[in-house]
Symmetry: D2
Subunit: 335 residues, 4 copies
């Protein structure tokens, strides 16, 4: 038995692209309850109240929605070097940059599907400004009391034309652990749930049925409790946020989910769950086509867009593919 690769510590942040930067920013601050940590050029750096790193989201104006890059932090300088070598050996490397706001030199590369990634080690410690100083010293920032008040970035779900290829890369070259998988009757692998830690997933790949490359399925943020997630649904309803999938529980990875669209058209999730994998030799759970056809944990079927839509949208549409959930007009009785 070979030794496990344990060189990467966490997905530190993701860059999300939006054609409607002002509306998207308002969504993440007012409805997700995130703080603006920094602004630079066409980008705004945003953080959840429970993030120890400076930010978990870099929101950048762009011609189309999608993921800008996925940024992973290594365990040490030596660990970083080992991963750079592995990636370079595959010819996927793009070279070093001086880093970005809050972190040092980063090595850029793409996964086999073309999604941009970077890995780095050196990072500034987050220091909250006076008005955000917490009263408990082991909390990085004062609690956010507005909106969904997401705690921290949780995971990224990427669409890929060849899930097997990207999954192998993530596991064999980056060191992700493969916890769950979907394999259809014809042998096609259509989903892979992977993690660097005991958390049930940090990086997910699912099949892009459109056959496109480099697209995003969704980014997810964590809240501590299912009650907060249910409360978020009420807030989003009142705020006309398009809800794609109402709160329920995933069969795969057992997370509680709430999927909505931010104004730029990207799917984003509020998630929570305490399904931890401590075992060093956890045997990957493989779901069959028939099993997946049975819906989510309690039998809920996700709607079609969940299985077809990604960003950038292949039809060039700007904004969410479904109408807002302001489905139930206020009543005359109140007027």
């Amino acid at each position: 038995m070979s030794e496990p690769i344990q060189d990467l510590a966490q997905i530190d942040h993701c860059e999300l692209l939006t054609p409607l930067p002002e509306e998207s920013l308002r969504f993440f601050t007012d409805l997700f309850g995130m703080e603006i940590e920094y602004r630079e050029g066409q980008s705004v750096f945003l953080r959840g109240w429970g993030e120890y790193q400076p930010y978990g989201l870099k929101l950048t104006e762009a011609g189309a929605a999608g993921v800008g890059h996925v940024s992973i932090r290594a365990w040490s300088p030596a660990a970083l070097e080992r991963r750079v070598e592995a990636v370079e050996a595959l010819g996927l490397g793009r070279g070093w940059t001086d880093g970005d706001h809050g972190h040092g030199a980063a090595f850029e590369f793409t996964d086999p599907d073309g999604h941009p990634f970077e890995i780095f080690y050196e990072q500034e410690r987050y220091v909250p400004p006076e008005h955000l100083r917490p009263r408990l010293k082991n909390v990085p920032q004062r609690h956010v009391d507005c909106g969904a008040a997401v705690k921290r970035f949780d995971h990224v779900n990427l669409l890929a034309a060849d899930v097997t290829a990207v999954r192998r890369f993530a596991v064999e070259d980056l060191g992700f652990r493969l916890y769950e998988q979907v394999i259809l009757d014809d042998g096609e692998e259509t989903g892979a749930w992977m993690s660097l830690t005991i958390a049930a997933h940090e990086l997910i790949y699912v099949a892009d049925h459109a056959g496109a490359s480099g697209r995003l399925h969704h980014l997810a943020w964590f809240v501590d409790t299912r009650e907060e997630l249910l409360r978020a649904a009420d807030l989003f309803l009142d705020a006309d946020v398009p809800i794609e999938a109402a709160p329920s529980k995933h069969a795969v990875a057992q997370g509680m989910f709430l999927y909505v669209y931010e104004p730029g058209g990207n799917r984003v999730e509020v998630t929570t769950g305490t399904h931890f994998i401590y075992a060093p030799d956890y045997e990957t759970v493989v779901w069959s086509q028939a099993e997946r056809a049975r819906g989510q944990a309690w039998g809920v079927k996700t709607i079609d867009t969940f299985h077809t839509y990604g960003t950038p949208d292949l039809h060039g549409t700007v904004g969410p593919p479904i109408p807002p959930t302001s489905r139930i007009p206020t009543l005359d009785v109140h007027a």
Copy 2:
């Protein structure tokens, strides 16, 4: 403005009919976590841990599933007399009985759709047996620690061929307050949510699209928190209980719901919520056809059976109309 009728205090219990009495009993004890309070003839009297009355459910063997009767307690002997007079004046009375286990003389009648009801006042106080004695003196019984651990009977939802007729009877003759209503574009009233208290509903009528009479849509039991309701869904999944509607939130009356089938074929609900109506002049909320078409609070659409199935089943089927939710087989990896 006329004085409100305040003669009836609560729906004390319901009688549920089942063609599979042993299986149904096991469901209510093992999965709903109810205690057997008494047995007599073909009936078993069951209670939730938080009920002050002796029992909230009388489960009775019968040729077909459905509701045996709905039993309402009056505020006082005089209040009982007033309601008896009102019902008799309509010709719906069936006369007095000596009562039943745990309560005194009751006046039997039917609503205009033919559902059997009774009203009474005298009732025995519940005294828990030694092994069920609680440690807090304001709790009627020791907490149940098994299954969904439902706290108390909450409401009954009856199907009716003519909702307007039964709603008028309940409001004008029994004194229920009408909190919410559904009226279609053609003026047909297809749903009425009514209560004797600040609770959002205790008696509900919805249209029986099959045009039958005297049928049951569902009985509902209360749990204190949404977390308990979500936990119940996990327990029911593992116990192969057929889940008709996974946990979500109703638009009408705002209750959190989980609908399943007990083995006898009756739909039963686990519910919770704190939508209270204190206002003495609350204006009935009227939902239109278009509004109802938009689904539940967060956009979830209930499946067809929810709108068509009732008990007794018109096709004479015994047992649940849908298969168990053991939809996701255990994995070979564990074997």
Copy 3:
């Protein structure tokens, strides 16, 4: 058996006095998450998002903290007349006023301990302004997404020199139902928990050990879930709100509690719970001295101030009697 009095529907609102009106207002808007519904003179009218009446709190500048008045709504004009007659017969009446913002003519009186009350029937219906319009038509106002986001006024707890006298008045003349009581070994009644509805309490009297009259113990606001209450504790901690009693569960009435001080010095509570009393002949639960000495439901003992402090403070102190809970300074490690 006599007929129950069912003339009063709800405690509609309370007037709270504060010597620090600006600070108190900021507390109720920013930390409790209440909306300003109206301003007039030295008063601000505030509401929780789930209140059907226009407001549940009238906050008024005054020389000292305390309760301005308790305002109760009757079930009907005739019911109002009956209660006015009962109160006048006792010589406690102060006469009619033209009403106040949002409601019509009110009859003012005091309880035997001198606390000011009023009863009325006519009330304006609350119409949310455009920016607060909800998406679900049975919700009175858009969800508040900031602070503790209290839903509605829940109950008032008044200190009284002679609990038996005020309890008798409330039960026999106003029609409150007495659900729980504390009676010491020497026969002194030191607490009475009463309600107009199935809710576990709306009006509470506890003994004023200082022997003063007309003082306030606390006002309480409801949140839907225990999770929201726990979250409120985290928010209050970060906001330097003095926490008198951390979240736990009451033995009496079984409510979950969180007691803090608003800047004016009044004790206020965030509460939740679903202990409902449907029974028309519920036997009052009587707690003995020994039982009360055992602490709250899970054994927590409340601190001394909880049993001694009320408003107005007899020492003339302005503001909370205990220091803020910013007990745990932020750490240098973050600096």
Copy 4:
């Protein structure tokens, strides 16, 4: 910067000693809701429903309460070898055993305070018996529906005469990450919270003020939600379990806690929380004497026994040091 040690994967299980084995076993099965996985000699092997390993608790009859041993699983055979070498170099090794039920060869050693430990790699996969087979294939066992229904073993807290010595051993030789620490004004280190993963703690050492060696403060089991923890408190109250500390939130490590005594006299905790440390260079949070004196997160002070009692008890007492929480007798009204 040196490379982090990442050789150990998880604290797999602990052995708990009890002088009252039958009573202790009934506590863990009936009240904690654990399943008996195996019996052998004077030991019973117990598991929470969410454990992937065969068991998390080995309960063994002994003359006195306390911890039998702490068992840690390595990431790989090579990782195991590295840790054995490190421990042997310190002269703390006791040698290899053939293993125990469910796992292979283990290396036994003690920490510098004399607590017995073992490390191993080879382990059998848990296969649920037919009646415990789950319906979701990524869950190890059917949900337990009784009692507190603890999900999995979470952490062990050991008393030590010299916290600095054991903390250094755990960090430098075993590879635990030090997340939080208490250092008094005189420089004495009195507490260390450590983990092998992103979980806030798996191994805790606190000062044994009695100066004894090898004693246990408590073992803790995880539940998914705070609601389950609050529900456990209600169940324990009704079951006369001695509650030492009612549900509240820790300042250190932010976990929600509920401390009780099992019949053998050992302190056990129900815990939950989602305070995760992903950062590879997390700076240890150091709490001062003054900060710790301020109580738990919301200001609650833990009672004296929490800071003085451990097992084995130095006075030779058998069973819990405090009386059961059946403090509030049932009421005559129910009798």
